[in-house]
């Protein structure tokens, strides 16, 4: 469960990224975080996976206060979260296999299991046979699917997706959302930031809408 209680984020230059945000996402839910560019969507996600701390308020992930997480607790928190970024955050000088294998490698999983799992997840995102392709040679859609496979491979409880379809055409975007739905059906909580209101409306799933760093709406279409 993800819970944000009166969360505000003020940057060093005095700019407020978020003001008094409160919402709750139950376990196993698929929720959209929507709003225009600059609304604070990425800030919300970064606060949840503790890339930064809130200025005020509390963020709880399965009861753990993310702001107070340090050392092993922080590592443990991040291991329960799979992240997908708009700009992929892939290592482009490495193969799809190496990128997808990374979350398991840092956990010390054996070579054979890593190999099986990577094949399985690349297959799931429609990239079977792409193991040895360098990420720099992949198309935008393929890169995003590699990033998605990397987010899913460690079977995280929570998947945070920051505009994963933002740089993709409609067809590739739909594939990404479909994979996220599959992960959600298997029990993962998915929290996806998007500015695409059509996508949110068409899926009829719960959403949280931000504008200028404030929550302006929460519910279902």
């Amino acid at each position: 469960m993800i819970q944000m209680l009166s969360v505000s984020k003020r940057y060093d230059d005095g700019y407020y990224g978020l003001r008094d945000i409160t919402f709750k996402i139950g376990p196993g839910k698929f929720v959209f975080l929507t709003g225009e560019s600059g609304a604070g969507k990425s800030t919300v996600l970064r606060l949840i996976y503790r890339a930064e701390r809130p200025t005020n308020g509390t963020i709880l992930v399965d009861g753990v206060d993310t702001a107070a997480a340090h050392g092993r607790a922080l590592t443990s928190l991040r291991r329960r979260i799979g992240m997908v970024f708009q700009d992929y955050m892939l290592l482009f000088d490495r193969t799809a296999f190496e990128n997808v294998a990374l979350p398991l490698a840092v956990r010390g999983v054996g070579k054979r299991i890593i190999s099986q799992e990577v094949d399985k997840y690349l297959d799931q995102v429609g990239l079977a046979g792409y193991q040895h392709r360098l990420c720099c040679s992949l198309s935008g859609g393929e890169k995003q699917r590699v990033a998605l496979a990397r987010a899913l491979i460690a079977k995280p409880d929570i998947i945070l997706a920051d505009e994963p379809t933002g740089n993709l055409d409609l067809s590739n975007g739909e594939k990404i959302v479909e994979v996220l739905h599959d992960a959600n059906r298997l029990g993962a909580t998915v929290f996806m930031a998007t500015h695409d209101l059509y996508l949110v409306q068409s899926t009829r799933l719960p959403f949280v809408r931000l504008r200028g760093g404030r929550k302006v709406e929460e519910g279902n279409f």
Binding site: R78, M83, L91, A105
Partner: protein, 300 residues
């Protein structure tokens, strides 16, 4: 274990880049060590040249052998004296005959040997030669003391100039070495920024995130050090050969001593730079999330 494997894979993944960076660092190390070795050779050569300067200590005529021997021993014990040798009047005359063969018959026809007994004293350094000469002059049994003041002064001036030049070159080499090493380290740190950010996102432990870049730096430094250790002996051999060719009468320092001195100085300096680079890399790893955040805010 993960960090080690990743580092080795990284080196293998970009063999040309790894080799180029290692070679550049090794070149910096060899150049600095070469300059250091050259400074050792130059100082050694100057010391050898200084040792050719001597003070002629003329003794009183008729001084008995026991007194001469006592004086000789007294001079040899002096800390400012490298060595002292006794030249008897007969030996002195023979040397004159050899030095001026055209007057050999004149020397042979002399009824009385005019040359006084002499002790030739070689000082350790020309710097304190005047004080040493004054000290020797005050000894009982000494008639007079002579040395080439003009030559000694010239030598002392040249000595000061060469040492200043050496110091300047060494400081410059040290600066270039540190600057070059830090530049290489910065390029490695910069190249690893994204990897550090990705590692923290995929759930790597703090240690794995923080060690990622320092491990790469250490690996490249180790490779550069191996290249350095392999190439340095050739540089020192070349330097010694040139020294022998220029100053055939100089006995160079043993190559092993020069190698050990230059290698240890440069390795210690590079270790200090490496340590600094690792500390900077570790501190930067803490800040990378923040930088990534700024980039994303710009994107948004």
């Amino acid at each position: 274990m993960f960090t080690l494997k990743q580092t080795l894979r990284d080196l293998v993944r970009h063999p040309i880049r790894t080799l180029l960076v290692s070679i550049l660092i090794a070149v910096l190390m060899v150049a600095s060590a070469g300059i250091y070795a050259m400074s050792i050779d130059v100082r050694h050569t100057i010391a050898e040249i200084e040792r050719t300067h001597s003070i002629n200590v003329y003794l009183l005529r008729g001084l008995d052998q026991t007194s001469i021997q006592t004086l000789l021993e007294q001079m040899q014990k002096d800390e400012a004296v490298a060595r002292a040798e006794y030249v008897s009047p007969a030996d002195g005359l023979k040397k004159l005959e050899i030095q001026y063969p055209q007057f050999a018959s004149v020397f042979r026809d002399l009824t009385r040997n005019p040359i006084p007994p002499l002790i030739r004293v070689y000082p350790i350094s020309v710097q304190g030669i005047a004080a040493l000469a004054a000290e020797l002059r005050s000894l009982a049994g000494v008639q007079t003391v002579e040395y080439d003041e003009g030559s000694v002064q010239g030598m002392a001036n040249a000595n000061v100039f060469v040492h200043s030049l050496l110091l300047y070159v060494l400081v410059l080499a040290g600066f270039l070495f540190v600057a070059g090493f830090c530049l290489m380290a910065f390029s490695i740190i910069n190249g690893k920024r994204k990897e550090t950010a990705v590692l923290s996102v995929v759930g790597a432990s703090n240690l794995q995130v923080l060690l990622s870049t320092p491990a790469h730096l250490v690996a490249v430094w180790a490779l550069a050090s191996v290249l350095f250790a392999v190439v340095l002996p050739s540089v020192i051999r070349y330097s010694t050969t040139r020294l022998k060719a220029s100053f055939s009468w100089v006995t160079p320092e043993p190559a092993g001593v020069v190698y050990a001195g230059a290698a240890s100085v440069v390795l210690l300096a590079s270790l200090a730079c490496l340590l600094l680079a690792c500390v900077i890399a570790t501190l930067l790893a803490y800040r990378i999330d923040e930088e990534q955040r700024r980039e994303e805010t710009l994107l948004e």
